[in-house]
């Protein structure tokens, strides 16, 4: 009976929302003044930031301060899980996999690293960036842990090292931002602070964007690895 009530409540609320958004479902022609910012980004993005990937241009240049906030949220999540998750940790799995798995994983790990750093360093040129690359880095930790068990990474010490790396990433992001102030402009300034934007499309271009990508990647990668570390428990 309770479920029916809940279902009815959900349906009522959903229909309310639906009728409110009904007009928005088939938007009439977008008026030009409502897309002025996206038009601006499309028109001037490459020239002003040096990044071909406009998403990265917005994430790490136009609205880099928001990205700093998002990175902080991940940092907080990592701190929270390290603080609150239980301390007793045991082997992830005692089951031995077949040699194919061990060999396969060992074989794939270097390539994963290459993929991760490719995503990070080419973030301003092709789809990818710090967050994606960081997740791939974290995947390697997870894979190693799943197959070879906890004995492969020396627990507490490596965790501490990873927290230090994570902090380094976060501090690096802010220091790059402060460099903008030091060079006589404002926080997280890129082209305006005289950083060389280079030729759009080349690897070394777009000023601080690749550096910010790298720091974000380091931070996200080590952060997610810590989260996995803290949460694993034997079933």
């Amino acid at each position: 009976m309770r479920r029916i009530y809940i279902l009815a409540l959900i349906l009522i609320l959903a229909s309310l929302l639906f009728f409110t958004f009904y007009d928005l479902l088939h938007p009439t022609e977008f008026e030009t003044d409502k897309t002025q910012i996206s038009d601006y980004y499309i028109e001037h993005g490459v020239k002003e930031t040096g990044a071909i990937n406009l998403v990265t241009a917005i994430l790490f240049d136009y609205r880099a301060f928001d990205t700093l906030g998002e990175a902080t949220v991940i940092f907080i999540a990592v701190s929270a899980i390290s603080l609150l998750a239980t301390k007793e940790r045991v082997l992830v799995s005692n089951t031995n996999f077949s040699p194919i798995v061990y060999q396969g994983i060992s074989f794939i790990i270097p390539f994963l690293y290459i993929l991760a750093f490719y995503l990070i360093f080419y973030g301003h040129l092709s789809p990818g960036g710090g967050f994606t690359g960081g997740v791939v880095i974290a995947t390697t930790f997870v894979l190693l842990k799943m197959t070879f068990g906890i004995r492969y990474s020396r627990e507490e010490k490596s965790l501490q090292r990873r927290s230090l790396i994570e902090s380094c990433g976060a501090i690096g992001f802010i220091i790059v931002g402060i460099l903008g102030i030091v060079r006589g402009d404002s926080f997280l300034a890129n082209g305006q602070a005289g950083f060389d934007l280079g030729v759009a499309g080349q690897l070394l271009s777009a000023g601080i964007i690749p550096i910010l990508n790298l720091f974000t990647g380091i931070k996200v990668g080590s952060g997610l690895a810590i989260i996995f570390h803290r949460l694993v428990r034997e079933e």
């Binding site: 928005l24 240049d61 609205r63 701190s79 929270a80 102030i181 300034a189």
Partner: protein, 498 residues
């Protein structure tokens, strides 16, 4: 100019680098913690002095307004920044002798929480506001569970569920605003929001009212607050009750007044909605506080009631009501901070949470009990104290706007609160036969509440000094065209000199 951004960056950097200080420079840890708090406080005071005459705008990355993110700081933002930095500094000083376990994580999160709150009051960008909103919220959930007891996990989980839903509603509102105006810059929204159809505006208003309302515990959405604020460690309770909920209220007011002109709000009867939900919040808070037997829970319900007072002042939508409300925000932050900190001392001493177990504790902790008594009488609103002044201002404003019932409920509410605070005070000072406990409380713990309670004196004796500053706040909050003019670098504010 640079103070504006460094006010966010300094605590953020301190939070990130605290791990290194803790690991490699452990000797300077205390100095680092206090120093960061002090620097933040000095920066915020510097900022307030700047913006009290010339509100400023800081474009991050030096992009044009609207293209990038801007910080827009008006007098209200400056006042709240100083309040946040000041209360946080006292809380940091108190935590140094209160928090014994997990210091590393505690201070990391505390610094980030300060950065998040400062970001919320300084930012001039709607989505950036949401980012800092999330930072502040998530750290609040974590710090509520800091004691790692079952009860605090439950409180934290409850807080998180309600908080996440409210976050989603706010995100939905931001999406709707951006879709219908094409800008996220708060100052530009003042003009752009005029083109939003009124039907859509109402939906957005409902979303942000519920979203932010759940965060500052307006009554039907208040259920998480007593659990969260009473199970958190005492310094965190002081911070959550004192400033965090006020910051969410600020965010609501900022967005609401930018979206709607005052005439529209009055036409939609929003003043009645605010004032009467304030009345309901006030009575619910006070009546439930009356029935509590745990000290911190009582204080938490009292916080809900004070939000009611503030809502009554805000809901009048005129300068007088807002001035009273802002003054009450400041008073409540200071007084409730002291109350929670002294309650923390009592609980540390007696190891018990019930009010009945605190019988006769005043003979062992004379100073703390004295501070508690003064603060309790203060928050009730008895005449010589500073809360009386703000409550008087609220009462006066409500009467002038012909809200008789809300005005009288301010008086009745204060009477109820007098009755339950007197119950605690008489218990504190009643004689008991044997000593309660032999647990020693470090005397440094009493320094922070003592220092904070010394500020009752200037707040009560020289209200005009502060009111002079506060009087500038409604100019930018209510007459949003002034807020828009900050963009243009205007110096002539409408209504400032007339």
């Amino acid at each position: 100019m640079i103070t504006a951004i460094s006010l966010v960056v300094v605590p953020l950097l301190a939070g990130f680098s605290f791990l290194f200080i803790d690991k490699y420079l452990a000797k300077f840890r205390k100095l680092f913690i206090l120093g960061t708090g002090l620097i933040t406080l000095l920066l915020s005071i510097n900022l307030l002095i700047q913006v009290s005459n010339h509100p400023l705008i800081y474009n991050l990355g030096n992009w044009k307004e609207g293209i990038g993110i801007s910080l827009i700081i008006d007098p209200l933002g400056g006042i709240l920044a100083v309040l946040i930095a000041f209360i946080s500094f006292i809380i940091i000083a108190y935590s140094l002798s209160y928090i014994k376990n997990h210091q590393l994580k505690y201070y990391t999160l505390l610094f980030l929480l300060i950065a998040g709150m400062l970001g919320m009051v300084l930012t001039g960008d709607l989505f950036n506001l949401y980012v800092f909103f999330e930072i502040t919220s998530i750290i609040s959930y974590v710090l509520v569970a800091f004691n790692k007891e079952d009860i605090s996990f439950e409180a934290s989980f409850k807080y998180m569920i309600i908080g996440s839903i409210s976050g989603i509603l706010i995100l939905l509102a931001i999406i709707l605003i951006y879709q219908s105006t094409g800008t996220l810059n708060l100052a530009q929204l003042v003009i752009a929001a005029r083109n939003i159809p009124i039907q859509l505006k109402k939906v957005i208003a409902v979303l942000i009212l519920i979203g932010f309302g759940a965060k500052f515990a307006v009554v039907p959405l208040h259920t998480w607050l007593p659990d969260a604020h009473s199970t958190a460690p005492s310094p965190i309770s002081a911070l959550l009750s004192g400033v965090v909920i006020k910051v969410f209220l600020y965010a609501l007011l900022r967005v609401l007044f930018i979206l709607f002109r005052i005439e529209e709000l009055l036409a939609l009867d929003f003043n009645n909605l605010f004032v009467y939900s304030g009345v309901i919040t006030l009575f619910t808070g006070h009546l439930l506080a009356y029935r509590q037997d745990k000290l911190k829970r009582l204080l938490a319900y009292s916080s809900i009631a004070q939000i009611g007072y503030i809502l009554i002042g805000v809901g009048l939508f005129n300068a007088a009501g807002l001035e009273g409300a802002i003054y009450h925000v400041i008073n409540h932050a200071v007084v409730k901070g002291v109350l929670f900190m002294t309650a923390g001392i009592f609980i540390l001493k007696s190891k018990k949470k019930n009010i009945a177990d605190l019988k006769g504790i005043a003979y062992q902790l004379p100073l703390s009990s004295f501070i508690f008594t003064i603060s309790a009488l203060n928050i009730v609103g008895l005449p010589p104290f500073n809360s009386f002044i703000s409550k008087w201002l609220l009462l006066h404003a409500a009467l002038k706007a012909d809200f008789i019932i809300p005005a009288s409920s301010i008086l009745i509410g204060s009477l109820i609160s007098l009755s339950y605070y007197l119950r605690i005070i008489t218990l504190l000072y009643s004689k008991v036969k044997e000593e309660l406990t032999s647990i020693k409380v470090p005397y440094q713990l009493q320094l922070a509440p003592l220092l904070l309670s010394l500020f009752y004196l200037p707040l009560a004796l020289f209200p005009n000094f502060l009111l002079l500053l506060i009087k500038k706040a409604p100019l930018f909050l209510l007459k949003t065209i002034n807020y828009y003019n900050i963009l243009l670098g205007g110096e002539e504010w409408i209504g400032l000199f007339g």
